[in-house]
Structures are given as C-alpha cells and as structure tokens.
Amino acid sequence: MWKFVHQLASPPHFYELAAKFIPWFAVFALALIAYGTVAGLFLAPADYQQGDAFRIIYVHVPAAYLSMLAYSIMAISAGVGLIWRMKLAHAVAAGAAPLGAWFTFLALATGSIWGRPMWGTWWEWGDPRLTSELIMLFLYFGYMALRAAIDDTTKADRASAVLALVGAVNIPIIHFSVEWWSSLHQGPTLVREGGPAIEPAMLYPLLAMILGFSLLFGAMLLARVRTEVLHRERRARWVRNLLMPSEGSL
C-alpha cells in the first residue's frame, strides 16, 4: 500500500495512472449529472414557496460546493507540498485554483440569477453566502495572481502555498463575520434552500448532482494536473521517451 502511494508521487506514474482514471470519472459523472438534471428539472415537484425557480438549486449548490472543495484541495495540497516538499502536491494546487475560481464564479452567477426573481435584485449584500463567496473569489484571484507574478516555479509554489494556507484559516472567519453582519441587516427573508423541509423527490437529484459534479471536477482536475506535471517535467527523460518514442529517427 505504501509502495502504491510512494509510486503515485512519482510524476511518470501519476501521469499514466491519472489517464486511466479520467474516463471512468467522466462517465460516472455524466451519468449522475444526466439523472440529476432530468429529475431536478422535470420530476421533482415544484417548491411551495418558490415554484419552479427553486430548480436552480440543482446547479447552484453543486457549484458552491465545488468552489469550497476546490479551495480545500488547493490548500491541503499546497500545505503538503510546502511541508514535505512534494512537487506533485504543488502541481495539484496549481491545477485546482483555476477550476475553483470558475466554479466560484458559477456559484455567484447562478446565485445572482436565482436572487433576481426571489429578492427582486441581482445582488443582495444582505445574503452572507453570496458575500462570502465573493470574497473567496478574491482569494482565488490573489492566489493565481501571485503565482503568475513569480517567475521561478519553486518560489511561486511555496509563496502561493503560504497564501493558500493563510486564506484557508481565514475562510471560516470571513463566513462568520459576514453572517453576523448580515444578521444585523433588516433585510428580506433569506432563501431557504428547497423550502421548509426537503422531500426525497427533491433531495435525490440534488445529491446526484453534487456527487456527479464532484466526479466531473475530479476528472477535470486530474487532466489539468497531468498537463502541469508534463510541463514541470518537460526536460526529464520519461517525457522525452513519451513524446518522441523513436529516438534518432523522425
């Protein structure tokens, strides 16, 4: 078992292994998402309070969940890379960041679209989740901007790792602050996802979407990390053998 983990950390092994996992992740992801979409859009009953608008939940919640999952993965792998000096871990962090930013944007956009019919406005400062999510988008941008600003890969890895960890500590604090702040705000009733009590017909599609999108995220992440690894190892022999198998002949 230990050997497996040890091997996994080796770039060529990871490169190969990831390629095998990606199609499986993708297939299961699409199946779950297909079920979730159809069931969520057409089979689940309309919500008591929100009517059919609540169906946005089936894309909004997975996006929000992924935005946070991506950050956790980014912070944990950055930490592992920083402490144990594992290059692959840094590659994972680098790959997770843009994906996380995309899903954060999606969460904000779908949240905003959902808010328009519910609150009558495209943006509601009184909703703690939207505001916290916006701040998290800034965290992602800061991370990616810092990486881009530093030329040396190792230095960029380690500096951005420090930033990711500091940000990770701050996320619960930010969320708490914003919740407290918006509770002071005498605003409209916050949207309760799914209505008073979420019934199974509504819940199962949601779970399927969350799981499906997680697998999709996994597939996308593995693909990006593969690219990242290839780029970082571009001068290595295994890469040469991989891309130009017939040495000496063109």
Binding site: I135, M136, F138, L139, F141, G142, A145, L146, A149, I150, K155, R158, A159, V162, L163, L165, V166, G167, V169, N170, I173, I174, F176, S177, V178, W180, W181, L184
Partner: protein, 232 residues
C-alpha cells in the same frame, strides 16, 4: 522573563532593536508617518465634499468611510514595509540573523503600527467630529480602530513579505490582503455604527480583540516563512 544568554542578546533585546531601528529610520523620513496620515485625512475630507453636507447622512456613513480610509491608508504604507530593507540589502541580514525570524517580523509589524496605525487612531476623533458622529461613539471608534490597525499591520506584513521585490507588487499586495482585511472592516465599521445606535458593542469588540490575538499568534510565523521564500 528575558533569558539572559551569555552568548548573545536576549529575545526582548532583539525585538527592541528592530523596533528602535525602524523608528529611527522613520524619524529621518517623516513621509513614512505623514503619507498614510495625509491619505487618511484626505479620504475622510473628500467624502463629505462629494456626498453632501447633510449631517444625518454624514453621521450614518461616518464609521464606514473612516474605516475604509484607515484600511486604504494601511495598504498604502504596507507596500514599503520591507521594500527599503530589500533595496539596501538589510533584508538578507534580517533573515540570516541569529534572532528568530518570526520575532523580527513581529518587530517590523510593531514598528509599522506605531508609525501608521497609531497616528490614525489618535487623529480619528478629529475626523469623526467632522462627520458629526456623536461624541459617545468616539471611544468605540478609537478602540475598534486600534484593534483593527494592529491586525492589519500583522496580516499585511504577510502580504508585504510575499510580494517584496515583485514588479507591480503594489496592486498585488492589495488584492492579497483584501480578503484578510474584510472581517476587520466588517466588524470595525459595524460596531461603531451600533454604538451610534446605542446598541450593544461588546460582541464586535470581543471579535476584533480575538481576531487581533489570532493574527498575533500566527502572522509572524507566516511572515517569516514568506520572507524566507521570497528572498531565496
């Protein structure tokens, strides 16, 4: 409590040394103190001019404006926190010093606060009065600004350490610190607003104090790590 080591200076002496050094340098460059202060005063005076002199409006927006101005002023001064050390080579000396780097980082943050945060706190009541803020909120304003600016000096030094020596590090620094500064801004400004409305302020002040303690415990270590990485 300082361990008197026959081999070298104690921790407390090391801390005092770096704070004293920065203060002396700033004495020779008064701009270090004056610039953030001017900026703070400028923002705080431009606002009423732009928004209009209605006293109720001013009083309501006062806490928010003052707090945003303080935050921006802090950001402005953070950029040069390690810049001059980097330029003249003393950063290398600081990093390789036998004194623990987190301690020295803490010292830099302390001197930064003394030079930019503390003046803001002292000047704030004057500006608050131009905003027609009720006099019984001034105490809360000063306490929240004090705790907030200390947190900003500590957390900001992490960003300053990560971006030292980078091109256009200025804008990047602001982007990095923004999320960290949000809880401080939120609790600071809103607590003062609560004071103006005669509501309970204890919760806000406790939060700011707790956040300050948290920053105090881990920011010096994060800054030290960042300095070592940036200076490789």
């Amino acid at each position: 409590m300082a361990v008197e080591d026959s081999k070298g200076p104690s921790l407390m002496q090391g801390l005092q040394a770096i704070v004293r050094r920065d203060l002396l340098l700033a004495w020779k460059r008064p701009g270090d103190i004056l610039n953030p202060l001017f900026f703070f005063a400028m923002v705080a005076t431009l606002f009423p001019l732009a928004v209009g002199p209605s006293p109720e409006q001013l009083a309501v927006s006062g806490p928010g404006v003052l707090w945003v101005a303080a935050l921006l002023a802090a950001l402005l001064s953070l950029n040069s926190l390690y810049l001059s050390d980097y330029d003249d080579g003393s950063l290398d000396q600081i990093i390789t010093s036998p004194q623990p780097l987190p301690l020295l980082a803490l010292g830099k943050s302390i001197s930064h606060w003394l030079l930019s945060g503390l003046p803001l706190v002292i000047v704030s009541p004057l500006l608050a009065m131009t905003f027609r803020m009720p006099t019984d909120t001034l105490g809360v304003l000063m306490v929240t600004l004090m705790l907030g600016t200390i947190s900003l000096s500590l957390l900001g030094s992490i960003g300053a350490a990560l971006t030292v020596g980078l091109n256009r590090g200025n804008a990047l620094l602001s982007l990095l610190i923004l999320p960290l500064a949000m809880p401080v801004l939120i609790f600071g400004a809103r607590t003062v607003s609560l004071a103006a409305a005669d509501d309970a302020v204890a919760a806000g002040i406790y939060f700011l104090a707790a956040y300050c303690m948290l920053a105090l415990s881990f920011a010096p270590f994060a800054t030290a790590a960042a300095l070592k990485i940036s200076n490789e």
